[in-house]
């Protein structure tokens, strides 16, 4: 079944109009030696009923465990209206809005999105999205280096409190640009990047500084101190932020001196976790930097009759115009997810977003209180946190998580691999989706497992 409408009669008529007798003749320019005879390795077609059964079986096999995983992807309530509208055919099956007059729905949605993201981050302009938070961070690094022409070092300081996968992706994506991404250690008691650590770079030529807030440990960094350090040395700041947290926290535009480029993962804004994607990365910046910003941007303008309308603008930055000199090679981005996020932010508004942030913070405090009451579990850091925290255990994390998983609970992320210096450490998260009952269940299973094997 290939969704082809043609009957044999249709095909005959069409072949006649072309002046050939068979479809094969249309492929005559292709050297015969290259033609595939039979596609080995592809099974025969299934119909929709059969595929439906298969997919249902597979979905059920994955189950729906009670999850306390965060670490860059967060479970939040998504109002039903968000995807009911986002999956309307007019949004779902529309193309990139190159023909503006036929795409005002998409273009206006993106303009509204840009407005919301710019305000949420405290910046002046935002683009129409990048692929995800990690690749957006990589693009921000490249953008910061382009902007900072005074610096010759190409050294970018990246705290270890930035998400490990973001650091890895940034390395891969900037690999051939002669940049040096240098990692900064965090203070072991607070789980934060400290001014002392930065001071080691005091007299040196640094191209940019990245700051993640909340950081990967869920801890709130002392952003004003870090920001001040960077500004006093004319080092551009790349802020990596959680958009839900911005309903509650001071946005990077208002950090002391302000951030220069803000990026982050937009998934918490109405996008399901879906095994890691599709998500979207957002990028916001100061107006003076807009011509170095990668990705699409929509502008409002007038039509021939003097009426307002929306169109893609500043396209000279992009690959289809600048080609080899483009700010990025990005073409297709994450349009459908931007639509969902814009609808989510419209339903929640400033009060709703603040409440989601508050409620998530409260649930996380309740979670940490409950599980640190279990003997063998203690909080790793004394600092304020947003909605996830690191706890230290008295025994290896992996077998414990496996045992919890057998009881259909995902306790969090084992940090042993990426932060071995923390010992047996677990990153655990609670959002507004967790009830007190959920938290009590987790704590009691944990207590049972930790007391059973001495």
């Amino acid at each position: 079944m290939a969704f082809i409408p043609h009957t044999a009669a249709d095909i005959d008529e069409m072949l006649t109009a072309i002046g050939v007798t068979s479809i094969e003749q249309l492929f005559e320019e292709i050297p015969p030696a290259l033609r595939t005879r039979e596609l080995a390795g592809v099974p025969p077609a299934l119909n929709e009923m059969q595929v439906g059964r298969l997919m249902m079986q597979r979905a059920l096999a994955d189950g729906q465990p009670l999850s306390f995983l965060g670490a860059g992807a967060y479970e939040h309530h998504i109002p039903a209206a968000v995807w009911a509208i986002t999956t309307r055919g007019e949004f779902y099956s529309a193309y990139t809005p190159y023909q503006a007059e036929a795409s005002q729905g998409t273009l206006q949605t993106i303009y509204e999105f840009q407005t919301m993201i710019a305000s949420l981050t405290g910046m002046q302009v935002a683009n129409a999205s990048l692929y995800d938070g990690a690749s957006a961070f990589a693009e921000a690094v490249l953008m910061a280096v382009r902007l900072n022409r005074k610096s010759e070092s190409l050294r970018v300081l990246v705290p270890r409190t930035v998400h490990p996968h973001y650091r890895l992706a940034a390395r891969s994506i900037t690999a051939n640009q002669q940049l040096r991404l240098e990692e900064l250690d965090y203070a072991p008691d607070s789980g934060r990047t400290s001014a002392e650590v930065l001071e080691r770079y005091a007299g040196e030529d640094i191209a940019a500084l990245a700051i993640q807030q909340p950081n990967f440990f869920g801890v709130l960094e002392d952003v004003d101190t870090l920001s001040q350090w960077a500004h006093s040395r004319s080092v551009p700041i790349i802020a990596i932020v959680n958009p839900i947290s911005l309903g509650l926290l001071k946005p990077p535009g208002e950090w002391r001196g302000g951030a220069d480029i803000v990026v982050g993962e937009g998934q918490p804004l109405g996008v399901p976790m879906s095994s890691g994607g599709p998500y979207f990365g957002f990028l916001a910046t100061r107006m003076q930097h807009v011509r170095q910003m990668p990705g699409r941007v929509v502008g409002r303008t007038l039509d021939l009759a003097g009426r307002e309308g929306f169109t893609l603008t500043l396209q000279a930055r992009e690959q289809h115009i600048r080609r080899g000199k483009a700010t990025s090679n990005i073409c297709t981005n994450q349009g459908l997810l931007v639509t969902a996020a814009t609808i989510y932010m419209s339903l929640m508004g400033p009060q709703g977003l603040a409440r989601v942030a508050h409620a998530s913070h409260e649930r996380a405090r309740e979670l940490v209180a409950a599980i640190t009451q279990v003997s063998g579990v203690r909080a790793a850091f004394a600092s304020p946190y947003f909605h996830e925290a690191v706890v230290r255990l008295d025994r290896p994390v992996a077998p414990l998580l496996a045992a919890l998983a057998k009881r259909d609970i995902l306790g969090g992320l084992d940090l042993t691999g990426s932060y071995p210096e923390l010992g047996h450490a677990l990153l655990t998260c609670a959002t507004e989706t967790k009830t007190s009952g959920d938290i009590q269940r987790f704590a009691s299973e944990l207590r049972e497992l930790l007391s059973s094997s001495g």
């Binding site: 290939a2 008529e13 069409m14 072949l15 002046g19 492929f27 292709i30 290259l34 595939t36 596609l39 390795g41 099974p43 077609a45 096999a61 994955d62 189950g63 729906q64 995983l69 509208i85 007019e90 007059e101 036929a102 005002q104 710019a118 129409a128 692929y131 995800d132 990690a134 690749s135 996968h165 992706a169 390395r171 690999a175 911005l246 309903g247 509650l248 001071k250 976790m273 095994s275 994607g277 039509d303 169109t311 603008t313 690959q319 600048r322 080609r323 090679n329 990005i330 073409c331 994450q334 459908l336 997810l337 931007v338 639509t339 508004g349 709703g352 409440r355 989601v356 913070h361 507004e432």
Partner: protein
Amino acid sequence: MQPQPEKLIFEYSRAGRGATDQWPTTAATPAAIPESMRRAQPPLLPEVSELDAVRHFTRLSQLNFSIDTHFYPLGSCTMKYNPKACNAFAMLPQFLARHPLAPESHGQGVLACLHELQELLKAVTGMQAVALSPMAGAQGEFAGVAMIRAYHRARGDHARTEIIVPDAAHGTNPATATMCGCSAREIPVGPDGDVSLEALQSAVGERTAGIMLTNPSTLGVFERRIVDVAAIVHRAGGLLYYDGANLNAILGKVRPGDMGFDVIHVNLHKTFSTPHGGGGPGAGAVGVSARLEPFLPVPIVAREADRYRWLSEVDRPQSIGRLSAFAGNAGVLLRAYVYMRLLGREGMRQVGECATLNANYLLARLKQTGFDAAYPERRASHELIVTLKRQARELDVTAMDFAKRLLDYGVHAPTTYFPLLVPECLLIEPTETESKETLDRFVEIMVRIQREAEQDAERVRSAPHTMVVRRLDDVRAAKQLDLTWKPTV
């Protein structure tokens, strides 16, 4: 009936409004977060009821053309029907709810789908190994060129930093070369649409990392001497990269691996019908020959006995690394998987055949009705190019004018002004899911617009007339930047 413009969502705001039933109930301020860290002013988000939000975005959607509502023959974009089943099954609640870092014990279902997708893509492309994580064609290209560089470096060859691209190439190709620290070297395409072998021969050498090609090419025709192209590049020590944007033309009929390509990307949002979504999300899965396999981006799904697991950096030390935080656009991959299962072996072949049939039918009918094909002596692939340079010269009516007037007739314009080589061009790709009547209607409309251009050119030049906006002032948009709404205090 003229569609009505829709206000900005902010213009519906009233203080205190919101979809209050969707808000969690919480206590007041979080004392545990110091005030110095807290937001002083609320962000500029709408304060509207749920119904107002639903109406607003529903009305916005109605201002769009889409495949579900209009014929959308955008060349090189493959705007085929997006089956509803693909969306329905990818959005089963358990798939949606799964955290990317959930353990494999709670992921065998989705991992089985992804592994099988890897295998299916290998089979239809003729490549030895596949990675699914690149999130769009451009990221696939990045991965491909990065792998080519990694391959040469691993052999101790650091001089190879030139990527050859035909001058007709899509802009992402040279942009990708730059992102990978390479330079793009252009070679000309001949008048018959094939890459010039002579130019290629003089362009290759010790600095050649590889060549990026699309086949069928961006000119809508098959690169007939591809075997010679491959030989020339390989003999010079370079590798061949296949841009899969036009795979729909040859699906089930020719495999890029058999043409000699070393690395390819596939646009799942084109050939495998995942939604375009108003500009993504896409997926640019990459396939490689054996010699590039160690360099594939991570993560990749492996099957060991009858269990599936992710392979990441520790398992793949020579990988070019990861390109995203997690596994790429997993939900898109699930949609592509469903589509490939619905097509099956026979369906793949039917896609290639009918996409080509439809394009050749349109080519024949447009030629018969007096339009100029860019390559009249060639067979069309899955797309064809019509040039309106004669109309521009004789009637002062351009390809852009035709494109805008098509909108008034309820057809989304084809791709305009790409490829850059063909003046005043329309790159038209009908896809296999369109009926003969739709194609005939398109030809009728083109004939009508031609007549209008001859008799009332101004009507065409000032089109569209029936959309929610008239033609927009792009110059003003770039000069007087208005990129965010600001409240008038």
